[in-house]
Symmetry: C2
Subunit: 362 residues, 2 copies
Amino acid sequence: MLREIERDELEPLATGAWILGAGGGGSPYLSYLNARNLYAEGRRVTLMDPRDLDDDDLVAVVSNMGAPLVGQERLSDPAFSAKPVRMMEDYLGRKFRAVMSVEIGGGNAFQPILVAAVTGLPVVDADAMGRAFPEAQMTSFAIADLPMFPLTLADIRDNEVIVARAASWKWMERISRKACTEVGSIAATCKAPRTGREVKDHGILDTTTKAIRIGGVVREARRRHEDPVAALLEAEGGVQLFRGKVHDLQRRATEGFLRGKARIEGLDQDRGALFELEFQNEFAAGWRDGEVVATTPDIICVMDSVSGEAIGTESIRYGQRVSVVALPAPELLLTPKGLEHVGPRAFGYDFDYRTAFGKVAA
Amino acid sequence: MLREIERDELEPLATGAWILGAGGGGSPYLSYLNARNLYAEGRRVTLMDPRDLDDDDLVAVVSNMGAPLVGQERLSDPAFSAKPVRMMEDYLGRKFRAVMSVEIGGGNAFQPILVAAVTGLPVVDADAMGRAFPEAQMTSFAIADLPMFPLTLADIRDNEVIVARAASWKWMERISRKACTEVGSIAATCKAPRTGREVKDHGILDTTTKAIRIGGVVREARRRHEDPVAALLEAEGGVQLFRGKVHDLQRRATEGFLRGKARIEGLDQDRGALFELEFQNEFAAGWRDGEVVATTPDIICVMDSVSGEAIGTESIRYGQRVSVVALPAPELLLTPKGLEHVGPRAFGYDFDYRTAFGKVAA
């Protein structure tokens, strides 16, 4: 099924994608403005059910790669987003049937929409993370051991790089990351192309729709002057982990990551308690009074307690009144192979996945 | 004209290429052993006069890129050297007519020979530096403002990178250098392909023959128990700048370069004088008693005073009895545009080209 993404779905998509970013992936705001602008010019983007892909269709998997903070300073334009897709078509000598995002969380929710608006390709309603993660080997396609090359990368000057082969997903991450860093820590990329069969079998499906739905729930509650956090938790089966005030923050940019720790003092029912959150671009683990209560890949999200707007790891600051919530991770990330790629140990922790949902890994 | 490179020319080529390296480019010794081994297996390499190239022939410009010290630790094999040439043919959908080195100085004199031994292509008797230099924009092709892309790069694992476009020669250098560094500071590369016309117009011609000739002169003098340094200077129109003993050395690896300074105390006719040499991979400038007497692009070479063997910037050490000599730079490097790319200011000095040959830039 193909349907047009409505103009008034763009804002909910931005709100929902930012929540699914788990603090990372970069704010979707500027990409949303880009998309709104394209709609104002009369362009329209269609959303395609991944189940409608033919097995041998070729799908472009796109992302805006780099440091989210740089993305806030250097505005992307849609033609730039589409460049690596055209490079890949030239390199393969084949045309793409559709385009999808590598990650629905954060600004990359809009990357395929920008590409679609200038190329006319439909956007597949799927991604490869179901949230945001910082590295190439943290995708459902990597978990499924699919080929990781070729990758195309372009910057805003006239630099174009093709990683034609890579020895592993981690090598692909290392090499493409260095190229990205060298051209200014922001680059448009087209990841290894996927067949329709691969997307259907190993993609995380219906996530554009999910982000729009989540954003809609939050915005509707806000409109009704109801509690948007409570509305989200009810609609998506989430759990509130903590409510309080940010009272301490350590944040440092190291090795291309935004790493740090937030301490939150309890308010309301959590008064007297302390919540600690560690992040590596995304929120990776949370401790309540010293005990781990939530870890990646569950979607740990810090929301403004009043507006329900997500707060990113680059913008969380002293004094904010926040609700820390967890949304369930896609099942695919909770398999043993999935946890190997995106569980706490993949981020350097010496403990296993722990969840607030009362279930453990399959 | 095509002629076979004789087995007994390989050793003179190594000696001559090391002298033309001006202290850089990495010792040719290991590549020479590789070539000798291939000859022992019965492989032969032909040398092609660049004037015999058709204008639209396509020539592969190869180099072993990276830190010379790493090249001493991780032995290259010929199949690895040929990999980026095959990648380039696949990428372009065209076959190469011949192969040439980006730089005749140091180990890269042998890179096209290794490629030729496994591919059967002839080696063009030319290069793009007439010596060794550290960076991509320091070639005669860059001086001529020829296109700098595409470039292919391969490592010994299974990583393959294509820099499909670059905004400038410096951007090409930056991006390919980062890729090279990431895969372990050593990579086989195939630079932007050149047409026969471009090689004839903008290459530095007959430099393989020159290196073999220089090595032959030094080795012949050594065999006759004559002074090999004097023999070289006479045969090639060189100038002796100083003779003495290395008495102080500063060397540091920074930003991918081997930078440093050597102080040499005079012996024989130079007794009582002091010579200082600064290097950035290659010897870049020399001071006699505080006065600049030689600069890049003249080929400043430090030779063992007895054997006439060149001494590299990574192997020069306290106590060595050395002769510092200058050999004339290729004319092409001495034009105003040439000096802009490879003169002292291109290495960060605030003085102009000075030469020991009693002439100034055209």
